[in-house]
């Protein structure tokens, strides 16, 4: 097995899929010759050429809308939004059109396409290069939303997304791009969409997280075990829509205590949905209030490192929240 970081895993997924299926193409700003501002598509343009790794004008609406047209036509486009923060001009196409096409045409049209975007903070990107805006899309019926936390999941899920007949939004936490390397199975390993993974088993409380928070939660769990004797179960959701409620509920039944962690701001965040589902469906198993640890209620990550540190969730913060819940 190879050891890859997130970026390498994502790139490898695209490469393998483009080789396997010549309908797959990539389009976005700077994806071609430059290989993407993060290098996600490095080497692909040289290998597959201009028409399959297409540098587009600076037009997010067009990137999403043309991708939909191409998908309708029969291609499998992977549209890259340079930063999740810049997806909003494409919002009309994504929500009005892409998410609804299948339903509004009574199933006769489909848009098998992927929109990939780097999201999340901790990289001194400030308000417009650090947003976690998954909630605008998780509540949109008709989309599938993924947020892998490991290179293996990134590769496997991106493959699944590219092959999926529905539109998939693929959230890549930019802080994890080069943060660590991990084992990635070689070959055509596809991770199914809609299944969470239990990253660490534990019996005292369950931590539900995704993306970069998986890494932070696992670190926190180590500390909790070592210092408090608290065994935290870490569940990496991986797939936000569809959401693997079965795994979530099984974990809550086991531990009785649920802590949801996400970087996006708390109010109306995705954690609210998970908390509500747990409250409704696992009520009889709760041994403590369902708790959310989330980003603060400010419109984004401020720039100065003092401010950014104040904003970002960390293993230490997760430890604290978990401690409080475990002691309930």
């Amino acid at each position: 097995m190879a050891e890859l970081n997130m970026l390498e895993a994502i790139r490898l997924a695209m490469d393998e899929e483009m080789e396997r299926d010549d309908r797959v193409m990539v389009l976005g700003e700077d994806v071609g010759k430059k290989g993407g501002v993060f290098g996600a598509t490095e080497g692909l343009w040289a290998k597959y050429g201009d028409k399959r790794v297409l540098d587009t004008p600076l037009t997010e609406g067009m990137i999403a809308g043309a991708a939909m047209g191409a998908a309708v036509y029969g291609l499998r486009p992977i549209a890259e939004m340079q930063f999740a923060d810049f997806v909003y001009p494409a919002f009309n196409q994504i929500v009005s059109e892409i998410s609804r096409l299948h339903y509004r045409s009574n199933g006769t049209f489909s848009a098998p396409m992927v929109i990939r975007m780097p999201y999340g903070g901790g990289v001194h990107g400030a308000l417009y290069h650090s947003q976690s805006n998954e909630t605008y899309f998780t509540s949109t019926v008709g989309l599938k939303i993924l947020a892998p936390g490991t290179p293996a999941d990134a590769k496997g899920l991106l493959k699944a997304a590219i092959r999926d007949p529905d539109p998939v939004m693929f959230f890549e936490h930019k802080k994890t791009y080069r943060l660590f390397k991990a084992e990635v199975p070689e070959g055509d390993t596809v991770v199914p969409i809609g299944k969470a993974s239990v990253a660490r088993e534990g019996r005292h409380l369950s931590i539900f997280c995704y993306g970069f928070m998986r890494t932070c939660a696992l670190e926190a769990a180590e500390t909790l075990a070592r210092e408090d004797g608290v065994e935290a179960e870490v569940v990496d959701l991986r797939s936000l829509r569809p959401l693997d409620l079965d795994t979530i509920l099984a974990s809550v039944e086991k531990t009785g205590k649920a802590l949801v962690v996400h970087e996006a701001n708390r109010f109306g965040g995705f954690g609210a949905e998970i908390a509500a589902e747990i409250g409704e469906r696992a009520f009889e198993h709760l041994d403590g209030p369902v708790t959310r640890l989330a980003g603060p209620e400010v419109p984004g990550v401020p720039f100065h490192h003092t401010l950014e540190d104040w904003f970002m969730l960390s293993p230490a913060r997760i430890v604290q929240a978990a401690r409080d819940l475990a002691a309930y």
Binding site: G256, F283, E284, L286, D287, Y328
Partner: protein, 502 residues
């Protein structure tokens, strides 16, 4: 066959239309889609065509009138092929909201008891005790357990709140705890809370299910050899105040000892099914007796001064309160005064620590029909004698009526048990776990007593009452209990005749 022409909805959100003028009159023949009338709405003005061909048989709304959308305006008698009419829209079946009845929280209903008859002044100078069943009193019941609502049955709904938290009755049971309690039919009073604020956690319940109640950190270590004190004459021997050999309980056996096999009933035998209360009592008594190392101290109390005082004041008390002054109330007052100086008797054992309870919630054992309940007088130390008396009467009568509230059956810190009313002079009660001590007050009997008066020994006829204290030997030792009892005795023996009946 007449087709009714209705005022159409000519635009979204249009709710009415005015017939500007009719373009046909009754009797006219029209073809399908020929114009019938002109309509004015707030959005559009239009000609409305006939939806079918035929003869205009009736015009129902005249020129100039405004009607709501859908109002019949004319009738056309169809001829030949009728126009296709709209298929009636399918009515979706009304969604049935799932009837979701949350379990009601109700106070558990102890078994109904007969209205007690006053034991009267029968037998002995008696504390007026509320409970009395004329028939078959329990053979030396050893009151200890409270009956909790036994959840696993159809009759008793799950108590939604409450739980014996170590902090003396805070009602915080999470859904998981309540469910487990319900599913396993657990007596909540048996649970000890290790969570924040003494909350009973899910793990506490799971541990309880796995290992049984209150696993002692060490089994009752080498119990001092002793004969089991029999509930009879032996205990009549006046017990010195000093610590004495304690009659210790049999060493704690396995939490769930296998019962001796019972032969099947044979001719003439009668089977009695166990009531919920009986089951609960059986379970609790077994559990407490097998896990808590019991020890006992008996003392004699000369109640003569109390008796005198009571006799002097009872009439006035009765006319004021409508009921006699019970000796139980007096003893409860004496106990609460004394517990302040001996807080260890008002505590709970929590595996690796002892929790001294702040509140003094005195449980009063009440015999009810075929069973026993121990309602609690919360903060008894804050009540006056008449207050305690009233509470005793209230909870006793409601115990018999089966009208106790759940919170009245929980949170006790010490129990007083009146065994004397049915004549006992010595008993060995089972501790009302998770309390650590229980006090029996036996019958007040006139007996000769040697007293020292003015330096000389005299024999006097005195009103004597034994008190037995059963205690948890993990927490308490004989000396402590002895001192406590001595102090209680002192309060009673030196009873001030001027004590107010307030």
């Amino acid at each position: 066959m007449a087709t009714t022409i209705k005022m159409p909805q000519l635009g979204e959100s249009v709710t009415e239309g005015t017939i500007e003028r009719w373009l046909v009159k009754e009797g006219d023949t029209v073809e399908q889609y020929d114009p019938l009338f002109e309509v004015v709405t707030d959005k559009v003005n239009a000609e409305v065509p006939a939806e079918i061909g035929g003869t205009v048989s009736k015009i129902l709304v005249p020129d100039g009138e405004t009607v709501a959308v859908g109002t019949p305006v004319a009738e056309i008698d169809a001829e030949g092929a009728g126009a296709a009419t709209d298929a009636p829209a399918e009515e979706p079946a009304a969604a049935e909201a799932p009837a979701d009845q949350p379990a009601e929280a109700e106070a558990p209903e102890p078994a109904q008891a007969e209205v007690p008859t006053d034991a009267g002044e029968a037998a002995v100078e008696q504390q007026e005790q509320a409970p009395a069943t004329a028939e078959a009193p329990e053979p030396a019941p050893e009151p200890a357990a409270e009956t909790e609502a036994q959840p696993a049955t159809a009759q008793q709904p799950v108590p939604q709140n409450g739980g014996v938290a170590a902090d003396g009755g805070s009602a915080r049971m999470t859904p998981a705890v309540r469910r487990l309690v319900r599913e396993h039919g657990i007596d909540v009073a048996q649970l000890r809370g290790s969570g924040a604020g003494g909350r009973v956690t899910r793990d506490d319940v799971l541990a309880y299910i796995d290992k049984g109640p209150q696993t002692a950190s060490a089994p009752a270590a080498s119990p001092p050899p002793a004969a089991q004190a029999a509930p009879s004459a032996e205990a009549q021997a006046p017990a010195p105040v000093a610590p004495q050999a304690q009659a210790a309980a049999a060493p704690a056996s396995a939490p769930s000892p296998t019962p001796a096999s019972v032969p099947a009933p044979s001719g003439g035998d009668t089977e009695i099914a166990l009531s919920q209360m009986r089951k609960a009592i059986a379970k609790k008594m077994t559990q407490v007796k097998t896990t808590v190392p019991h020890a006992y101290t008996v003392i004699e109390v000369d109640m003569t001064n109390v008796v005198k005082w009571r006799e002097a004041n009872n009439m006035a008390f009765k006319s004021r309160e409508g009921a006699s002054l019970s000796y139980v109330a007096v003893v409860v007052k004496a106990v609460t005064e004394t517990l302040r100086k001996h807080p260890t008797l008002n505590s709970q054992f929590a595996e690796d620590k002892i929790i001294l309870k702040q509140a003094m919630n005195i449980g009063i054992a009440v015999a009810v029909d075929n069973g026993l309940v121990v309602p609690v007088i919360a903060n008894a130390d804050q009540l006056s004698i008449s207050g305690v008396n009233a509470r005793i009467r209230d909870i006793s009568s409601r115990a018999h009526a089966g009208k106790l509230r759940l919170d009245e059956l929980q949170g006790g810190t010490f129990t007083v048990n009146n065994t004397g009313w049915f004549g006992s002079v010595s008993s060995m009660p089972i501790i009302n776990a998770p309390e650590v001590a229980i006090l029996s007050m036996e019958a007040i009997v006139k007996r000769p007593r040697v007293m020292e008066i003015d330096g000389a020994d005299v024999i006097a006829i005195r009103h004597m009452m034994n008190m037995t204290c059963s205690f948890d030997h993990r927490v308490l030792d004989g000396a402590q209990v002895g001192f406590f009892l001595a102090d209680v005795r002192a309060v009673l023996e030196e009873w001030d005749q001027a004590t107010s009946i307030g």
